[in-house]
């Protein structure tokens, strides 16, 4: 099996069993995978637990783009990044978890920046409902000691 593959290709297997063939240079953008490759403790197939195929595909897409576009203009990469991270909350959550778990620094940076932008302009109630999953009635009835002053805006 391994002989049929090119030398510098790796197979990543997602949690639901799907396999992705990626160049090694792309795969090692994840520090966790890089460590595994360097320690030679991995065969050509590297399992990526906790990350399903969808998310893994996204991560690989991101890494590929970053690997290819090293020579390209930085602004291109930025637009790609901002479009790439512009996703729904659940996808973002999964991506962050994956990026954190696999230790992909560039992706984590871009994602954190995006989340920061999302949260920045929002009011407290908005943040509670949208990002913490509170229901409106919970906020109204819960015993937050902050309620007295958080209604007023800070800026």
């Amino acid at each position: 099996m391994s002989s049929s593959l090119e030398k510098n290709m790796l197979i990543l297997r997602s949690s639901d069993g799907e396999e992705f063939i990626v160049p090694e240079v792309v795969a090692v953008m994840s520090k966790a995978i890089k460590n595994m490759v360097e320690d030679e403790c991995a065969s050509n197939t590297i399992p990526v637990p906790n990350v399903d195929a969808n998310i893994l595909a996204m991560v690989i897409e991101f890494c590929k783009k970053h690997d290819e576009s090293e020579a390209e203009a930085a602004s291109d990469l930025k637009t790609f990044d901002s479009e790439f991270v512009n996703r729904g909350q659940e996808a973002l959550y999964d991506l962050i978890t994956a990026a954190n778990f696999r230790d992909v620094k560039e992706l984590l940076d871009a994602l954190c920046q995006n989340v920061a932008e999302m949260i920045k302009g929002k009011s407290v109630h908005h943040i509670r409902i949208q990002f913490l999953g509170y229901q409106l009635f919970e906020i109204l009835t819960s015993n937050f000691i902050w309620n007295i002053w958080c209604d007023r805006d800070f800026d």
């Binding site: 920061a116 949260i119 509670r128 913490l132 999953g133 902050w146 800026d155």
Partner: protein
């Protein structure tokens, strides 16, 4: 986390996790549950938070107990605050610090910043305070110092602690119906976020308060206000006695009255009431590790905790000096109580180390005068340098006053003198000045 990324790695430790229990929803238990951004691991969350402007961060503290504790934990790097606060000022910023000052005659508190690299800046809040805030913005005055926005009231600053100010605002008294009778209502404000909250009336309102104390818990942001009344009750023989102190706690949002006992030892002052004499001005309280300390009359420093009794510390020995001893003042640095005093020749600074006063700085007034050589012509009387305050962000900086002339800051190490403000003669004779050191905390506390 990558090994090279220390800013990320350092978030990992020391979060106050106990507050997590108060969070009804933090982690999704089942995989089918909707996943929310806020459920990401806490080191990532603090990484996200640290990328925001600090005003947004202030707001985020209100989101939940967990976020509040996360932001308050010191592991959130101060860098975002610094960069947004000081980007225009200098490269390696120190804490933003300065002094509020006012005298009892005026309702015009002033602020000037005493940062090392920032030019000593003097801001009179004074007459602008009576204007509406909107009006101020129109006039462009609002931008005098963005870090120190104006507080829209006539007020006296009574105390300052961890960036919160306790102010009093004179209001006409409704109970006694005397003309021109005014009583003080207190409010607590954060000059950075511009939020303030009125305290309720104390139980025996209005009563005559001789000292007001203000204690802020740096971790939780809750504060306590203590009002010591004029009336002491003391046994004339044993000297033991008690005083009914009004305490306000922001946790309960109520005043309560408690009996504080005191046990003066034999070498101390015979009459406890003299500790807090209205005639002798002794300056605002200094907070030192949860203790409130005042310079009292008759060579005693009075310390008081909201839970304990009063205790008394003898002031440093002055006998090596001659001449008139000026009213000393207290300061605090890194949990050490400091004592600044002067006579006609020397300015001296003591630290309280293990219950003993240790003389750490002693500067002849002549030296200060020499540092002032280029401005020397302004000052003709060096005999009576009066200590006013100690800068709490910089252990080397103190504030002094030349009687009838100038307030100035003096740095013990660089021997640099900055003249701050000329004082009118009558002010210093008739009424004392108060200087209240202020340090902007890295994360502004909310006002409960």
């Amino acid at each position: 986390m990558g090994d090279d990324d220390k800013s990320l790695a350092q978030y990992n430790h020391d979060h106050p996790k106990k507050l997590r229990n108060m969070e009804p929803k933090l982690e999704p238990d089942q995989p089918d549950q909707p996943r929310y951004i806020a459920h990401i691991p806490e080191d990532i969350l603090s990484y996200v938070i640290s990328r925001m402007p600090w005003r947004s961060i202030c707001r985020l503290k209100c989101v939940s107990m967990y976020w509040y504790s996360l932001i308050n934990s010191k592991t959130i790097a101060p860098s975002p605050f610094r960069s947004s606060l000081f980007s225009t000022n200098n490269k390696e910023p120190d804490l933003f610090a300065g002094v509020f000052y006012q005298n009892f005659n005026s309702t015009e508190p002033c602020f000037f910043s005493a940062d090392k690299d920032i030019k000593v800046e003097f801001i009179t809040l004074g007459s602008r305070l009576e204007l509406e805030v909107g009006e101020l913005i129109e006039r462009g005055l609002y931008a005098v110092d963005e870090n120190m926005p104006l507080i829209p009231f006539n007020f006296y600053i009574e105390a300052c602690c961890h960036g919160l100010l306790l102010c009093s605002h004179p209001k006409p008294c409704k109970q006694c119906k005397l003309r021109n009778c005014q009583v003080d209502r207190h409010y607590v404000c954060n000059p950075i976020t511009k939020k303030f909250i009125w305290l309720p009336k104390p139980p025996e309102y209005p009563h005559r308060t001789v000292k007001t104390g203000f204690l802020v818990d740096q971790e939780s942001g809750h504060y306590q206000v203590m009002q010591i009344p004029v009336n002491f009750y003391a046994d004339p023989i044993t000297k033991e006695g008690f005083v009914m102190v009004d305490l306000y706690s922001s946790l309960s949002r109520t005043w309560r009255t408690e009996c504080f006992e005191f046990h003066p030892r034999s070498h101390e002052n015979p009459s406890p009431a003299v500790f807090f004499s209205r005639v002798v001005f002794t300056g605002p309280a200094v907070q030192m590790r949860g203790l409130l300390c005042w310079v009292a009359t008759r060579d005693v420093v009075v310390c008081c905790n909201v839970e304990k009794k009063f205790c008394f510390i003898k002031q440093p020995n002055f006998k090596i000096f001659s001449g008139l001893i000026n009213t000393p003042c207290l300061g605090e640095f890194n949990g050490v109580l400091r004592y600044l005093a002067s006579d006609s020749r020397m300015v001296c600074l003591w630290d309280l180390q293990a219950g003993e006063w240790e003389l750490v700085k002693m500067v002849p007034i002549d030296t200060i005068a020499k540092s002032l050589s280029d401005k020397y012509w302004m000052i003709d009387d060096f005999n009576n340098v009066r200590p006013l305050a100690l800068q709490c962000s910089n252990p080397e900086m103190v504030f002094l006053a030349f009687p009838h002339k100038w307030i100035m800051s003096y740095n013990f190490v660089s021997e640099e003198v900055n003249l701050i403000e000329r004082i009118e003669m009558s002010y210093l004779i008739l009424t004392p000045m108060i200087l209240i050191p202020f340090v902007l905390p890295k994360i502004p506390l909310p006002v409960f």
